[in-house]
Symmetry: C2
Subunit: 199 residues, 2 copies
DNA sequence: TTCCTTTACGTACGTTGTGTATGTAAAACT
DNA sequence: AGTTTTACATACACAACGTACGTAAAGGAA
């Protein structure tokens, strides 16, 4: 077989990540063989191993792209919420819920990723993309040192499980509204505690 | 090789689950081969496949035992908290945090289990053991229909991620105290909302 | 233009781990 | 005492990952 040009190579690389993204989303990491990815992308496993070091490496690339997509949605939503820190926090949280469920990647990001790439590394990746903004937003509302980290972790976990719960009720507007209200409830509690002069 | 008596067989079955529990906890599901489990238990893979249908089946047994252990700790703590529903809720949540981190099984229960046995089945298993009590406790404090399920999911997720965060700070008393205070904060917010006549 | 190096794959192979089929000897029941 | 069932061990088939090697064209250098 002949060889492709530089931009053709970039196209096959992207094609591999794209097909891997959808296959991982619908079948889960363990059930997807690299042979399946290669066949669906119209190449052989050799091509996959040329562009990505391992199955985990390909998966990591998929996760990174999804996280960037979600993070950008969160950031733009927070920016559009005006200058108020609390409003930005609320808007960002709701945007996260919508983005992560809309991406059809709930399974990849929230279920497979921690187990495959390890919770610590996943947490770090997550921290660099989404959780930073959550942490900064919480800090901007006045949360102090000792509670900042655990509250960040807990709110992040609450949003993740809310997204997983929502994913079980697809296209259910009332469920989505209830999730939004519940999320606002918890976020407001954190903000109120901060404003109350927590110690 | 000769054959063991009925109670000897039960002993080897328990021995297999025990060693599998510790191996899964320290290395993760994917990195543990059944050969490792069998060798550590002093048997061959044949014995493992005789007592458990598959690797997933063995893992499911491990998960079920861990969940029962955690659930019993939660229930007994809630029972000792007196008749007040809110006090029972708070005590149960704190007991969950301690039990799930103390079991050294955070990884198995919270990271591997959803990915290996599937989030839906894990959720159902979890619902039958721990989350039932959370849901009932929230209902007992007066949370109404629409918000009950999402709030249950979010508080459950918050506690899970709090446990994972705590597991990164082992034997750190101040971190544990901060996690407890943060958890109380969120739980109180839910209770307060319920008492305020939420809609 | 010609040569050389590097790139972008494909092909073939070794290795590991799962599951299954089969063998066997002792326990448990009749 | 004989038969069946149990509790394993052994051996094998198969799938999937990773690696080594081959190859032909792209992209520069002379």
């Amino acid at each position: 077989m002949p060889r492709a040009s530089a931009e053709d190579a970039a196209r096959t690389a992207r094609s591999i990540v794209d097909t891997a993204t959808s296959l991982f989303a619908e079948s889960g990491y363990a059930a997807v063989a690299l042979e399946d990815v290669a066949a669906a992308a119209g190449v052989t496993r050799g091509a996959v191993y040329h562009h990505y070091a391992s199955k985990r490496g390909l998966f990591t690339a998929v996760v990174a792209r999804l996280q960037e997509r979600v993070a950008s949605a969160v950031v733009s939503a927070a920016d559009q919420a005006g200058p108020d820190a609390a409003a930005q926090l609320r808007a960002g949280c709701l945007a996260f819920l919508d983005a992560v469920t809309d991406a059809a990647a709930v399974r990849t990001l929230l279920v497979d990723a921690p187990a495959v790439i390890g919770w610590a590394e996943w947490r770090q990746l997550d921290a660099e993309h989404s959780v930073v903004h959550l942490r900064e937003a919480l800090a901007a509302t006045g949360i102090t040192g000792a509670l900042l980290d655990p509250l960040t972790a807990m709110l992040s976990g609450a949003m993740n499980d809310a997204a997983l719960w929502l994913a079980e009720h697809p296209a259910d507007a009332t469920a989505r509204a209830a999730a939004h209200r519940s999320l606002d409830l918890l976020v407001d509690a954190a903000i109120a505690q901060a404003n109350a002069g927590d110690r």
